[in-house]
Each structure stands twice: as structure tokens, then as C-alpha cells.
């Protein structure tokens, strides 16, 4: 049904707006995210009708209604299951999944990890505001320990997930992180996600101005962000800081990452780890993902991991096509009869 061989219309951002006014709270980070997605889509090389958005339940999951594509707003936590079925059934479609921290990691945790490990080509965007917004302010699986919410008035006793680490551990072949207020950065990450083929996870730090305002100000405020954010770029040294002198070094003795300053204690730039998102082994990507929770370390944003493997839908259809090539088009009556019949006269 997809029409890839005919020419692609020239799209603008407007072509991806459904015309329905988003019903998110004023100041919600979701506005910035949808803006970047709509900006990115004209350049992905796909026809509007071949792009599908599937979502679960939560504030973020209203997303498909505002996109002028095919879309389905499904059940809480279950979006990856619908999207997986759709993509395996129709590999020629480009399928995006929009989800949140509660949707993907609490009620939908099982579907999430399996979507990642199968390596179905799904572009999963997880809007992480570290709170349940639609139900008005309860603790989420990414809320920090001690977080006071309506259901944890004395503070949350539970350790949170680190979503990119979970995605890497689950076998995702593309894992990235960006932030709602870092528009240009988010645009680049979305472009990389669109170009990747395989299970594709992008965490987007998103501010909820009503129930968890300022969740990320400690890393996004103009005054701090240079020292708080580590902008990873494939093939470039992991440097950050106001004067770009701070860096991440791999300490072979402790097998840990450490913060160093170029020019201090004999540290030179070649000592700083060069980011390799294409590394097949996920260990380094996992270590980098875990820095986000570590005191004294910057929060990495950008692409942690981008490796190429055959997708589940490719393998599925290779098997189907091989079976078709081998057996040919069997007549329906022959199919029904099988090979072990007898006659009654």
C-alpha cells in the first residue's frame, strides 16, 4: 500500500499538523517536542500517509491526535505491542511510538523491554517528566528517591529507572537522550532516530509545569548547563564545561568513568574518551547512560548507541518470502486437503 516509488511531495511543518489544538497545559514541555517532531518530518523522506503514530495513555499519548498522519491512541502501557504488530505486518510504514515514563516503564514495562530486544524498527519517544501528570501528580518509575508526591507524602522510597540504561540493557540498537528545551539538539536526535533502522529509543526530558515544575532546571538553566550537560557526538572526545576543558576518562584500573580536566594533573585531550556510538558492545554506552544519576558527573545527552542489526520484521519477511519461493502459490483446496487424505465413494 505504501507508495515509495512515486515522487515525494515537498512538505512543510504545517503538513504534519492535524489542525486540532493540543490540549496540554500552558508551558508544557510537550509543545516544544511536537514542534520539533513536526519540523523534522518533512526531511525524513517518507510520505505523510506512510507515517503512523501510536501512543499509550498519559499526557504525552495525546500526541497522535495533533499529527496529520495515521494514528492510534491505544491503551495504557500497550503502545509498543500495537506498534510491533503493525510494523511486522506492514514493514514499509514508518512507525513512531509516543509514550511517557509511567506508560512505558510502569504499566508497560514488559512491552517496552520486548520491543527493544526484538529490534523491530520502531521510533519510540519517551517523554520523561518524572511524574504522573494526567492523574494529577503521583510518583512515577523515574521519580527520584525521596520525591514527595500525592501518593508519597513522606517521600518516595523507591529507586528510579534510568531509561536509556534500561533500553541498552534490553537490547535497543539506538538509544538517545535529549531535552524539551534544547530544541536544536532535540531536532538532531530526532533526525538520527528517523535514520536508524531497528529498535530506537529516545528519552526526552520534559518539564511538567503543573505537577513537577523545574524537574530539570538543575541541568537546563543557562547558568549551569554548560557544566551539567555532556553533549555526546559520535567520533568526538567527551568534553564539556564552560571552556570545554572537562572531560570523561575511562580509568582502566577501576573500570569506571571519571571526570578529568584537560591541562590539570597532566591530563591531555587524548586521555579523554572518544565517543563511539557504533561500538557493538553495549558496555560503554551503559556506563555513560548511568552517569545521569551520578553525583559529580554531567548528564549525557545525544546518541549513546546506534548500531546496525537485521530487524525482526526483515527476518520475519525473509522467512515468509523464502517459504513462498520454495512452495509457490498453493491452491486453496490443496492447502485444505494436505497430504494425508482418503476417499469415500
Amino acid at each position: 500500500m505504501a507508495t515509495e516509488n512515486t515522487s515525494l511531495p515537498v512538505y512543510s511543518k504545517k503538513d504534519f499538523e492535524s489542525g486540532v489544538d493540543p490540549r496540554w497545559c500552558p508551558g508544557c514541555g510537550d509543545f516544544s517536542i511536537i514542534n520539533q517532531v513536526q519540523k523534522a518530518l518533512p526531511a525524513v523522506g517518507r510520505k505523510r500517509e506512510d507515517i503512523v503514530f501510536i501512543s499509550g495513555i498519559g499526557c504525552s499519548s495525546r500526541f497522535p491526535y495533533y499529527m496529520n498522519n495515521y494514528g492510534m491512541h491505544t491503551l495504557h502501557g500497550r503502545a509498543p505491542s500495537f506498534a510491533s504488530g503493525l510494523k511486522v505486518s506492514r514493514p514499509e510504514l514508518m512507525v513512531w511510538v509516543v509514550t511517557g515514563d509511567g506508560d512505558a516503564l510502569a504499566i508497560g514495562g514488559n512491552h517496552f523491554i520486548h520491543a527493544m530486544r526484538r529490534n523491530i524498527d520502531l521510533k519510540l519517544l519517551l517523554f520523561n517528566n518524572r511524574i504522573y501528570g494526567l492523574t494529577k501528580g503521583q510518583v512515577s518509575p523515574t521519580s527520584e528517591i525521596g520525591k514527595k508526591t500525592k501518593t508519597t507524602p513522606h517521600g518516595s522510597p523507591d529507586a528510579p529507572f534510568n531509561p536509556p540504561a534500561l533500553a541498552i540493557g534490553s537490547g535497543a540498537t539506538f538509544v538517545a537522550r535529549s531535552i524539551d528545551v534544547e530544541g536544536a539538539h532535540l531536532g538532531l536526535v530526532l533526525k538520527a532516530a528517523a535514520e536508524h533502522k531497528g529498535s530506537c529509543f529516545t528519552e526526552i526530558y520534559q518539564n511538567c509545569p503543573v505537577f513537577n515544575d523545574g524537574a530539570y532546571t538543575s541541568i537546563t538553566e543557562k547558568s549551569v548547563k554548560a557544566d551539567a550537560l555532556l553533549r555526546m557526538e559520535h567520533g568526538k572526545p567527551l568534553l564539556y564545561g564552560k571552556d570545554n576543558k572537562k572531560g570523561i576518562r575511562f580509568n582502566a584500573k577501576t573500570a569506571e568513568l571519571e571526570v578529568v580536566t584537560v591541562g590539570e594533573h597532566g591530563v591531555t585531550e587524548p586521555d579523554v574518551l572518544v565517543h563511539d556510538a557504533k561500538r557493538d558492545d553495549p558496555t560503554m554506552a551503559f556506563m555513560l547512560a548511568n552517569l545521569a544519576l551520578k553525583p559529580g558527573f554531567p548528564t549525557p545527552i545525544g546518541v549513546f548507541r546506534d548500531v546496525s542489526r537485521p530487524t525482526a520484521e526483515e527476518l520475519t519477511w525473509d522467512m515468509i518470502n523464502a517459504a513462498k519461493a520454495k512452495k509457490g502459490d498453493v491452491d486453496v483446496l490443496k492447502l485444505i486437503a494436505g497430504s494425508d487424505t482418503w476417499q469415500i465413494k
Binding site: G71, G85, S89, H114, K324, L335, I336, D340
Partner: protein, 614 residues
């Protein structure tokens, strides 16, 4: 040497093979079934096996059985009480002997009645030495273990491998007893073990030894012959219900030229449908083994959104998990077939035992107003037709459809007449490709039957969004308007009610009026039809109607029921159809006949119950 026995003709016979889980009784049963099918008898089978894959060897809980009823007249059920019991060890004898008909034939593997096995079966002494046993039954006690060992002397097989061949001794003996030609079984062994020549030879040898034993044994065994039945002429194969469902779905893919997408999760006793369909890739079937029951149905709905013919297969506990998803398919109005192979419940219940206890959950087990067409297959072969019918209704009416089968139908087998070209339904699936409302696409704009159009991704200009929130009755956009919601609830209900135009009237088996009308549904068809035949043969004013459609119910059902003094509903549950009929037809108060013992209803027990209420 004994003189060759005379062959006695019999009309029907029921044989049960029982042994340890590792004794190969399922294989023996299916192979013997095949021999009778090839000989042209009608038949029905009932495998009965433990939930444990390998319960402790020789234990009472590890007994596995396979019952086959075959005959020269129409066979409705796997038979009430076996005429012949083949027991391969003491535990099998202990658990099955009470079912053997008085005076029936008991064939035992004497060699397995050693001290250790007797103890595991809780026998204080060897039951084969019991004179009462020999008086009650025709006992044929054979040391199959030893005879198998002898047959395979010098074969180089280990003692474990030798033991595995014993079931072919029993099979060979049954071939001789029931006068079936050896040749086709030898070929079958060749086919089955072809890749391991040493096993081909060994199993053929043991099979021949069993056959020869019958011929040469000096006790003057009676030989039987069950002639071919008068089944309608045609080409036949045997199918289990689970295989028939898979075949039905693959046939739908062929007939429509559309992809059938099965999203499923393994669960007893439904797993075989997923397994079988994974072999139908070349016919346009895509199978997807999901991470859980919810994702099984979710992936199928996702595929349906994309234009595939989505289906999912499960059993009771899985159906419970799919409930929320079914509600989404109802409100989104996407085609989908959910196959529920019912088993003993609640909870994990009795996974390998049959039951009909999911009728009410099928009809009502979703939150909100969420009606859905529900139909039930009546026999293993009928599962083929029911799968096609369910898919046809789902795509025509844009709705999920629930197809109920059960463990007995799923695992049971019977001859299936392969349809001729003209006997397959015409089946066309169409998508909306053009705007349907002033140049725009309104996904919930309906036709006169209240059916909405189906536009799928990849279709330019018809981009739209749907979901689980209540929708505007035209655009499908989110609507919280109360009046719109009421209109949508009533419209969806009316649409499902309209499906009645595709529900055939019930046919009364017997006179249109009388003393008792037996009303059944699903897998009890054979038992109830068998009882009705028997009672009618005795001149009783008893008729039978069988419900294929549970929602909507057939138009003429109320009128048919009025013709009888009493309505009686036999079910393998605690009275679910009876409850439903009371609610649907005020004034109708059926007499219930309920069995919840994990087994199909016996014809004799039902017939005697009917005589009681007459």
C-alpha cells in the same frame, strides 16, 4: 499354533490407550485413529493427558490417555465407556479401570507390573492376580516389555530406546485385533522416523511382533472388523479442532488475498493453533509470538489497523488478560477474531481438561457497554468453518468476534470432508480509498447497516486518528459530549444486533414440538445429539437444537422453544447458557444438566437424566 480366529463384525467400538506420560500413548492413539480413518470409519477422539510434561514415571498423576470411538455409523463423541482398555502400567490401570465397560476387554503390559510400579500406583498386591478382575473383564495379560526386548535383541539400541518402542507392540496387536492392514503403518513409521534408520527398523519390527502376537497367541483371540461408515462421498482427512482453526485462518488468507496476522502467546490448550499457523507462511499468514497475552491481542489489533486480518488465540486465563484490549477493538471498531479454547477454570484451574465455563465472560466480560459477536464451534472439523465464519463477520461488520472452542474440540479429532471449490464461501475484504464526506474522510460515518469504513495507513488523503477515547460519531476525534456518547453506545449495540442477518435460524433435530427440547452450544453437540438420537429411537418426544451463535442469538430460537413443555440445557459448566436464556427469554426456565469434571458429557448419563424429567 492356534487356528485363525473368525472375524466378528461390530458397528462401533471405543478403545482407550493409557500409559505413563513417556509411554507414547498419544502417538499410539493418533496412529490407530489414522488406520481407522483410512479404513473409512467415522470416528471421534479424546486425548486426556496430565498438565505436567513429565510427571514422575509410573505415578498416578503421570497417566496419559487417548480414547478413540470409531464405527460404521455416524459417530458423535469419543464414546462414553471404553469397550477396550489398553493399559501399559499399573498406574494407568488403576486410574482408568473404573471407566471400562463391564465385560470389556482389558489388555495389559504384564511386564510393567513390577514391585516398584505397583507401589507407585498404590497397589498392595498385583491386581493381575486378582480373580475378580478376570471375571469382570476379558483380560489379556501380555509381557510387552519382554516381547519388545526379544524383538530388538541384537539391534544395538539401548534399553531406554528399546522401552520407547513398546507402544508399537500394543499398536501392532490392535491392528491385528481390528483387522487393519499392516502395510500403511509400516510406511507411516518409515515417514515418521525416516531420518533415523535404526528407529525405523526397530519400530517396524516391534509393530510386526505385536501383530504376529495376535495371530499366534494360543488363547484363541476374537478378531473384529468395523466396516466403513456411510460418510458422504468425498476426500477426507483427520483434523483436530486446533489444527482446523489454523487451517481455517490460512484459508481466509487464500480466499481474500489479504494477510492474516496472528498475534498470540502460548497457553494450554490453545498453543497448537499458533504452532500450526507458523507453518502456513507461504499462504499469507504472519505469526507473531508476543511477550504476553495482552501483547498478543495488541499486536493483532495493530495489524488490523494496518489492514491485516488480525486474530489472537488463547484460553481462559489469557482471555481475562485480553479483556481491556477487546474493549478497545469494540470502541475502535476494528476487525479481529479472538479464539478462546476453553479449559477448566477459574484461574489456572485444570489446563488440560475441558470445560465450557467461559460463555458468560465471552458475552459480558468487558467493562463498559462492549457487545461483541460470539460463536462456538461444535466439533473438531467444524472449527475450520467457524474460524472462516468468525473472520467473515469481523471484517464485514468491523468488529472483534469471539470464537469459542474448548480443550475437547481443540485436541479431539475426527474426519473432515475436504470442501469442493464451490463449497467455500465468497470472501471479499475492501478498504476505503476515497474521501466519504465532502472531500474529507470521516472514519465513523456509517452505512445503512451501521458499518464504518476501513481506511488503512498508506492511503493518501485519508489520514485519521482513532483510539480508546469516546469518539465523535463522524470524525472519530475525541468527544466528551454526553449525548454523543449515548448515541455511540446505542449505535455500536445496534450494529452488533444487526449481525443477526448473518445468523442462520436454528434447525430442530426431531419434531418441532414435544416434551423436551435439548438446547446445547459448543463442544457438547456430539453428546447431546447422540442422546437425542437414542431417546428418539425409544419413541420419546425429545428434540434438539444446537446454538452456533450465542450473540446475536438466532431469530427463531424463542419461537422454537415455545413448542416444548420443557427446555433442558446440558453444559460442561455450572449453568451459564441456562442463566443466559432465562435473562434473554423471560418465562423460559431451563432444566439444567451440568457436568464440570473436565470431560465431555456422556451420552448415557444425559439420556437417563432426560428420562427422569420427561
Amino acid at each position: 499354533m492356534s487356528t485363525p480366529s473368525k472375524v466378528q463384525q461390530v458397528e462401533t467400538v471405543t478403545i482407550r490407550f493409557v500409559g505413563d506420560s513417556g509411554d507414547g500413548m498419544q502417538l499410539t492413539g493418533t496412529e490407530f485413529t489414522r488406520a481407522n480413518a483410512l479404513a473409512g470409519t467415522d470416528l471421534a477422539t479424546f486425548p486426556d493427558y496430565p498438565a505436567e510434561i513429565r510427571a514422575p514415571a509410573g505415578s498416578l498423576s503421570g497417566v496419559s490417555g487417548y480414547q478413540v470411538n470409531f464405527g460404521s455409523r455416524e459417530i458423535h463423541t469419543p464414546g462414553d465407556a471404553p469397550d477396550v482398555l489398553v493399559a501399559m502400567n499399573p498406574a494407568a490401570l488403576k486410574t482408568n479401570l473404573p471407566d471400562l465397560r463391564a465385560g470389556g476387554m482389558l489388555i495389559v503390559n504384564k511386564g510393567a507390573f513390577n514391585a516398584s510400579n505397583l507401589e507407585k500406583a498404590d497397589y498392595k498386591s498385583n491386581p493381575l492376580d486378582d480373580e475378580a478382575l478376570k471375571h469382570a473383564y476379558k483380560v489379556l495379560s501380555i509381557d510387552m516389555s519382554m516381547l519388545t526386548d526379544h524383538a530388538l535383541e541384537g539391534s544395538g539400541l539401548s534399553s531406554k530406546e528399546t522401552a520407547r518402542c513398546r507402544n508399537y507392540f500394543a499398536l501392532g496387536l490392535m491392528y491385528w485385533l481390528y483387522s487393519r492392514p499392516m502395510e500403511q503403518q509400516l510406511e507411516q513409521i518409515q515417514k515418521k522416523f525416516g531420518k533415523k534408520p535404526q528407529f525405523v527398523e526397530a519400530n517396524q519390527k516391534v509393530f510386526k511382533a505385536g501383530y504376529a502376537f495376535g495371530e499366534t497367541v494360543e488363547v484363541g483371540l476374537q478378531r473384529y472388523e468395523v466396516p466403513a461408515s456411510k460418510l458422504p462421498p468425498g476426500t477426507y482427512r483427520t483434523v483436530t479442532g486446533n489444527f482446523a482453526v489454523a487451517l481455517g485462518f490460512a484459508t481466509v488468507a487464500k480466499l481474500t488475498g489479504k494477510q492474516v496476522f496472528l498475534g498470540s502467546y502460548p497457553i494450554t490448550p490453545a498453543t497448537e493453533i499458533l504452532q500450526e499457523m507458523s507453518y502456513f507462511k507461504e499462504h499469507g499468514v504472519v505469526t507473531y509470538q508476543a511477550e504476553d497475552e495482552i501483547a498478543g491481542i495488541g499486536s493483532a489489533i495493530g495489524a488490523s489497523f494496518g489492514g491485516a486480518l488480525g486474530c489472537t488465540t488463547t484460553s481462559g486465563p489469557g482471555l481475562a488478560l485480553k479483556a481491556e484490549m477487546m474493549g478497545l477493538a469494540v470502541i475502535a471498531e476494528l476487525p479481529l477474531v479472538i479464539v478462546n479454547v476453553q479449559r477448566g477454570g477459574p484461574s489456572t484451574g485444570m489446563p488440560t481438561k475441558t470445560e465450557q465455563s467461559d460463555l458468560l465472560v465471552a458475552l459480558f466480560g468487558r467493562h463498559g457497554e462492549a457487545p461483541m459477536p460470539v460463536l462456538a464451534a461444535q466439533s473438531p472439523a467444524d472449527c475450520f468453518w467457524a474460524a472462516i465464519e468468525a473472520m467473515k463477520i469481523a471484517t464485514k461488520w468491523m468488529t472483534p468476534v469471539l470464537l469459542l472452542t474448548d480443550g475437547y474440540l481443540g485436541n479431539g479429532s475426527e474426519p473432515f470432508k475436504v470442501p469442493l471449490a464451490g463449497e467455500l464461501p465468497k470472501f471479499e475484504v475492501k478498504y476505503q480509498t476515497t474521501p466519504n464526506h465532502d472531500g474529507a474522510y470521516m472514519p465513523y460515518k456509517r452505512d445503512a447497516k451501521l458499518i464504518r469504513p476501513w481506511a488503512i495507513p498508506g492511503t493518501p488523503g485519508l489520514e485519521h486518528r482513532i483510539g480508546g477515547l469516546e469518539k465523535d460519531s463522524m470524525s472519530g476525534m475525541v468527544s466528551y459530549d454526553g449525548m454523543n456518547h449515548e448515541r455511540m453506545v446505542l449505535t455500536r449495540a445496534q450494529k452488533i444486533a444487526n449481525v443477526v442477518e448473518d445468523v442462520p435460524d436454528v434447525q430442530v433435530f426431531g419434531k418441532p414440538s414435544g416434551d423436551v427440547l435439548l438446547v446445547s452450544w459448543g463442544g457438547t453437540f456430539g453428546s447431546v445429539r447422540g442422546a437425542a438420537e437414542q431417546l428418539q429411537g425409544q419413541g420419546k418426544a425429545v428434540s434438539h437444537v444446537h446454538l452456533r451463535w450465542l450473540n446475536p442469538l438466532p431469530k427463531n430460537l424463542a419461537a422454537v422453544m415455545k413448542g416444548f413443555k420443557k427446555i433442558m440445557v446440558p453444559e460442561v459448566n455450572n449453568g451459564q447458557l441456562a442463566f443466559y436464556l432465562r435473562g434473554m427469554f423471560p418465562g423460559v426456565d431451563p432444566v439444567q444438566f451440568n457436568r464440570i469434571n473436565g470431560k465431555p458429557i456422556k451420552i448415557a448419563e444425559l439420556a437417563s437424566k432426560v428420562l427422569e424429567v420427561l
